[in-house]
Each structure stands twice: as C-alpha cells, then as structure tokens.
C-alpha cells in the first residue's frame, strides 16, 4: 500500500461535546410566516426550496403568522395542547416507574411532542399510522386508553400484546396504529405498501409513517421513497430529525451535507422541512401532505426539525456525549410552551386554565398508574398465562410447538 499523503478520511463530529458550551449558531432559522403555501398539486421539483428552509407559523411572540397558518379553532388548539401535555406527563410517569424498577425500559418523547400530536390531529382517524417507537403522542392523540399503554409497559395480564414486547412497543389496530417494531426503519416501506393497497382498493384512506433521523440511513428509507414515487402511493413520510441517534449526532446520518427533506428531491417527491416544535407548522405541513395524498397526487416527505430533550432511553446517559444543557439552548424552544403562549396570546387560554389542565393530567396519569399497577407489574408476576407464550407464532399451533408446550408443562 502506498502512502502519498493526498487523501484523508473525514469523520463527522458534532459542534459540541460534554464540557463545551452548547452552540446552535450554525442553524439557520427563517422568520415565522415567511414562506408561501403552494397549492397541493404543485410540481414536486418546483417545491425543492422547501427542503432547505423551515416552515414556521408561530413567531417569538406567540402569533400565528403567514400562509401556512392552518387557522385552527381554539378548541382544536387546546386539544393539541392537552395531548402534548398528556404525552409529556405520561412519559414522566413511566420514566419514574422504570427508575423504580417496575418496568424494564422506557423511551420518552420530551421536546418532540408536537410532531406526533399535530400529525395525528392533521390526518383522519381512519388513516393508518406506521410509527417508530417514539410516537406515543400519536396514539395518545387518537384517544387510545392510557391504561392499555401502561399495561403494555408493565407486561401484565391486561397487556394487549400479551407480554411479548419491551415497553413502548404498542400495537393498536383499533386505533389504526401499527405494531411498533424494535427493528429500526422497517415500518417505513410497509406504510407505502399499505398506502398502495388503499389506492388499489380505490379507498380514500392514506398512510402516515415516522422514522428517526438516524434511521434514514437504512435501506428501508430508500425503498419507502422509491416505491412511493414509482406507484404514487398516498402516504405521508415523516422524518423526525431530533438531532441525535443515541450518541450519534445527525451528521453521522448525513445531516451535515444536506437536509433530510432534500432526499425527496431525487425521487421527484415534495420534501418539506418544518419547525418541529411549532404545533401549527407541523399541523399545516401534515395537512398539506395529507390533502395531496388524498387527491391521488402521491407521497410527501416531511422533515421535522426538533431536538431530543432527554436521554435516548432509560438505558442511555446523554451527558457522556453531549453538553447537558443543550436543550435549554435549543433555538426552536419547547412545543408545549410555544402553543401555550399562542393560546394565551389569542385570548383562548390563561395561566390558571393551564395549571388546572396540568393538575387534571397529573391526576389522570397518577390514577391510571395506580390502576395499572393494581392489575400487575412484571415484578408482581402478573402476566398472561404461560401457555400464551406459544400462541400467535402461527394462526394455529403446529405439532412441534404443541410438543414444546408439553415439555414446558403448559
């Protein structure tokens, strides 16, 4: 091997590591309300500038400004605030439950609540969601019973998925929410297949899917975009760019060189980049993409620019790889605080109402936890019957599993 000193290998590194002061000065943030809202049948290529900017509606004063303002009724906004707050409170509670050793694992979505909740609000309840593992907000916004979510986390006898999966891996066909996979990325092209099926059946339902910034590196991401483009599948493909994939900043997933929304361009799909901490902007972009899909105009890729405020999971310690106070410095703020400010600004909300809602949610989650724990936790040994372990491998139990059941004494 020669060594002529010309080339060198580039290893991307984030701007800040533990010990550094957080610094987001490299992030360009256009003012809220600056962008046009193109018609839903706009030509994809003409939309490419939307992949390099940020659709923003809420300004620093809490005003909703510009063409992307979805002009939601106050009641709808309050519902959005409620669902985000409930998601955050649920996360807090389950995190503590994990710290108490009552569940094995947990994943919070703190700081990213607007993405899942606003998306859930912008599409129809009959639209099918293929989530990653950080979309609890979507399920909560659809009104899935909190008790069922908790029982899943506890793997207890009322766990709807019979103790089969780690906490947070919900499955809720009743709420058009696909079974969460531990394998990253696989859901993205599946959503496209579901959407193709809906089109095949001349249905009017669309699919919505979510993927993390880190996971866009998987082949599944490419397959999803490619099949969606080829068959013009009615699907909204969301990238949640929360800056981190466990300890890897998004430059490792290729966010240094281009935006994730820009990936859409090469497939001839619209790619929108959205302030992911702006409930109204997320709602508006999702609504635009859903209308486009439902009008048989095909798929849209939306990059939600946000920040993972907490650890990756309860198995993670982010202070080992990033400044601990990064979230405080995050220039797009907190989605809950921003929507609250907006509601107060338009006179539809008050600090007192906010406190009341907060208390109500605290009570609800606390009491639901109590109820769930009464049913049982992994520690109390409340589980589905052992025999269920052998069910659902196939529709019917084949002889070899029956023999194993016998051997297992069930």
């Amino acid at each position: 091997m020669r060594n002529r000193g010309t080339l060198s290998l580039h290893i991307p590194e984030p701007h800040n590591r533990p010990g550094d002061a957080p610094d987001f000065s490299n992030i360009l943030i256009p003012p809220a309300g600056a962008l046009e809202r193109p018609p839903i049948d706009a030509n994809a290529r003409a939309l490419s500038p939307y992949a390099y900017t940020l659709i923003r509606v809420l300004d620093a004063e809490g005003r909703a400004v510009g063409a992307w303002n979805p002009h939601l009724e106050p009641q709808a906004l309050i519902k959005g605030l409620h669902d985000m707050m409930l998601t955050r409170a649920f996360d807090e509670r389950m995190y503590r439950v994990q710290r108490q050793g009552k569940i094995s694992f947990y994943v919070k979505s703190t700081g990213e609540e607007a993405v899942s909740v606003a998306a859930a609000h912008a599409v129809e309840a009959s639209d099918m969601c293929f989530p990653a593992y950080r979309q609890q907000g979507f399920l909560i916004a659809r009104g899935y019973p909190l008790i069922d979510m908790m029982c899943q986390c506890f793997s207890n006898v009322r766990d709807p998925i019979k103790g089969r999966q780690l906490p947070v891996m919900y499955s809720a066909s009743s709420h058009n929410f696909f079974t969460v996979s531990g394998n990253l990325g696989t859901q993205f092209p599946q959503a496209v297949g579901w959407a193709m099926a809906s089109a095949y059946k001349n249905d009017d339902r669309i699919a919505v899917s979510f993927i993390g910034d880190g996971t866009t590196a998987e082949g599944d991401f490419h397959h999803a975009l490619n099949f969606a483009a080829v068959y013009r599948a009615p699907v909204v493909l969301n990238v949640v760019n929360n800056q981190w994939a466990i300890s890897s900043f998004n430059g490792i997933a290729c966010g240094e060189e281009a935006t994730f929304a820009a990936r859409a361009i090469g497939y001839g799909l619209p790619g929108l980049r959205v302030d992911g901490n702006d409930f109204l902007a997320v709602y508006a972009a999702e609504q635009w993409a859903a209308e486009r899909a439902r009008a048989n105009l095909g798929a849209t890729l939306i990059e939600h620019y946000t920040y993972r405020a907490e650890a990756h999971s309860t198995s993670d310690d982010p202070s080992r790889y990033r400044p601990t106070d990064e979230w405080q410095a995050w220039p797009l703020g907190d989605p809950v605080a921003r929507l609250k400010q907006h509601l107060i600004h338009i006179g539809a909300w008050s600090e007192a109402e906010h406190q009341a809602l907060s208390d109500e949610i605290a009570t609800l989650t606390r009491e639901t936890q109590r109820e769930a724990e009464t049913i049982g936790t992994l520690a109390t040994g409340s589980r589905p019957a052992k025999a269920t372990m052998f069910e659902d491998v196939y529709e019917e139990i084949p002889w070899h599993l029956q023999a194993q059941m016998k051997e297992a004494g069930v």
């Binding site: 019979k162 089969r164 079974t179 196939y394």
Partner: protein, 337 residues
C-alpha cells in the same frame, strides 16, 4: 383436468386466485407485461388488469416490505423473488417483520403474504442462480416453508399458501419447471405431460400445508426429500432396485412428522437428501428429529446426501448436484449395517 408443466400449474394457481379473490395481487421484477423470466405470470396482467399483476423495482426488501404493508391492509399479496439467491436483501423484512408481526402484536395484526421464488440447481446457473436456502427459513419461527415437486402439488400448495393467514416461503425447484428431472443430466428429460402428476384440475383446489406424500412405498429404507430430489430419489431406487420408501415432504414447516415416524419405524433406516449445502441444512433437523423420534428403531445412522459445503460452482454442476448415484450410495450406507 389439463396436462400442465410446473410453470403452467403455478400460473394456473395465480390465475384462479386472482379471479376468485379481489384481494389477491401479484408483483415482482418483470412479472407484469413480460410475464416473469420463467413465465410464471404470463398473461395475468392482460387478463386481470394492470394493478393485479405488475412489475416492481429491483429491491427485494422493498418488495417484501410493501407486501407486508398490503397484508396489513387486508390484501393477500403474492410476491415473486426472481431467484432464491436474491432473497437475502429481503431477509430482515421476512425474519424481523413478516414472521414476527402476529406474535409481537399479540395477534393484533397478521401477514398473509406469499413469497414465491425459484430455487435449486441443475440449470448451469452458477452460484447465484442455483442456491437452496430453505434452512435459512425453517429456522425462523413464524414462517411456513413449502416446496412442491410436481405440477399438481405446485398448484394446490400455492393456492393453500395464498389462502394461509401466515407468511409462506414458497420455493419452486426451477429444474422441475419443464420436466421431472431425475438427476440423470446426460439423458433426455421426459416432459411433464408423460407424468401422472401433470394432470391438473383446471379450477380451484388445494393441497393442504403440512402433509407429506409417500411417493414410493418400500420397506428397506426411508428417504426423506423434497423438490427435485424426489425425482432423484425415485431414480436411485429404480437404478439400484433398493426397496426404498420415498417421502416427499412438500411442506418443511410445519413438517409431517407422523409420516416420517411411521415410515422410519417400519424401515429402521433413513436417508435425508437435499441440494442445499450440508452443514446446518434442513437435513440436520430431519436427522435430529428422526433419531429423537425413532432412536430405538434405527438400525444404522441417518445418512445425509446433500450439496457440498461450497458455493454452487458453475463448471462443476454435476459434481455438485447430489444425483442418483450419490443418493444410491447413501441408501447403501444406510443398509450396510
């Protein structure tokens, strides 16, 4: 009844199911207008319409993923992987998703997906058009694995696979597409039309998954086989005059253990034959099961006759393929002691 070769029988199964069930659709590389590189989907697009049978990008993982999504919607997709050698890019979607969705969701979702793919050697296809990867699926809980050996079974089993509510890997021995090849590569192969099992009902019927067929009764030694090797084993029995009982497994998972045990308890000797490489092949599982279930009936070690533990080398097609001589030798070894 019509005399069909294997491709025609498979085509007929797809045709019948497309007509019967609007939720059935067929896609894969080159399967639409062209009708597939082996012609298994010929005429289906024209007859049933563009959206019922269509071409797909060269992305096996995408194909399977999209098939899973369609299954979740409520369709019964049939996906073609052009050669089994090219199924590996889809392995994650098959193993982590198709096979696991029913279980991991507590029965909330399931995946009635059929994955058809030509497999096996004997066509001078070299190492990337000749592989037999069945053991990579039989180890995966949640999958069913099916291998037909003749036109009548091919159609009936494919219909069962499509109607099954679990994902099925449907491996088609491509060397048998045009005739019941018995491994005598230097002799002319008779066409299917001269073979009894080429008489195929025209309409709907099914052959259940999980039932083996005794294709030759005998008392000296049991031969467990599937796909092309069924015909090779028959030829070996004929050539040697050994009174072998030959069992065509037809479905590898779920396996017809009763048929196996019944036969080995009778013969006391067993040969397992497949084209796949030996180590950790499905033959290992068969050998283990036979000795677990029939230990006290066995008079000799279970013999494995398989492809060598090398890739399938282009110039050594017939040195690699476990032909009748090698199966005969296996039977002799089983009888020797």
């Amino acid at each position: 009844m019509t005399a069909m070769n294997m491709i025609q029988a498979l085509n007929s199964a797809l045709d019948v199911m497309l007509a019967k069930d609007p939720n059935v659709l067929v896609f894969g590389q080159d399967v639409g207008y062209f009708g597939g590189v082996f012609r298994a989907t010929e005429g289906l697009q024209k007859k049933h319409g563009m959206t019922r049978c269509f071409d797909a990008p060269i992305a096996e993982s995408g194909l399977v993923a999209v098939g899973i999504g369609m299954s979740v919607y409520g369709l019964r997709p049939v996906v073609e992987i052009q050669f089994a050698d090219y199924i590996y890019p889809a392995y994650d979607q098959i193993v982590s998703e198709a096979a696991r969705i029913r279980y991991r969701s507590g029965g909330d979702f399931h995946v009635p997906l059929t994955i058809r793919t030509p497999y096996g050697g004997g066509i001078y296809g070299g190492q990337t058009h000749s592989q037999s990867p069945e053991a990579l699926f039989t180890h995966v809980t949640g999958l069913k694995t099916v291998v037909p050996s003749n036109p009548r079974d091919a159609k009936g089993l494919l219909i069962s696979a499509i109607e099954d509510n679990d994902p099925v890997i449907f491996l088609e021995p491509k060397r048998l597409y045009s005739g019941p090849f018995d491994g005598y590569h230097d002799r002319p192969v008779q066409p299917w039309s001269k073979h009894g099992l080429s008489e195929v009902p025209d309409g709907y019927y099914s052959v259940p998954l999980g039932e083996a067929a005794v294709v030759r009764e005998g008392s000296a030694v049991t031969v467990l086989c599937y796909g092309t090797m069924v015909h090779v084993a028959l030829a070996a029995a004929e050539a040697t005059g050994i009174d072998a009982e030959i069992i065509d497994l037809r479905t590898l998972i779920p396996l017809d253990i009763k048929a196996i045990v019944r036969s080995v308890q009778k013969t006391g000797r067993c040969v397992v034959a497949h084209e796949a490489t030996q180590t950790s092949g499905y033959g290992a599982e068969l050998s283990a099961l036979v000795q677990e279930h029939c230990f006290y009936h066995l008079e000799a070690p279970v013999q494995r006759v398989t492809g060598w533990d090398t890739p399938y080398p282009h110039a050594f097609e017939w040195d690699y393929f476990p032909g009748p001589d090698r199966v005969a030798e296996g039977m002799r070894r089983a009888l020797a002691s």
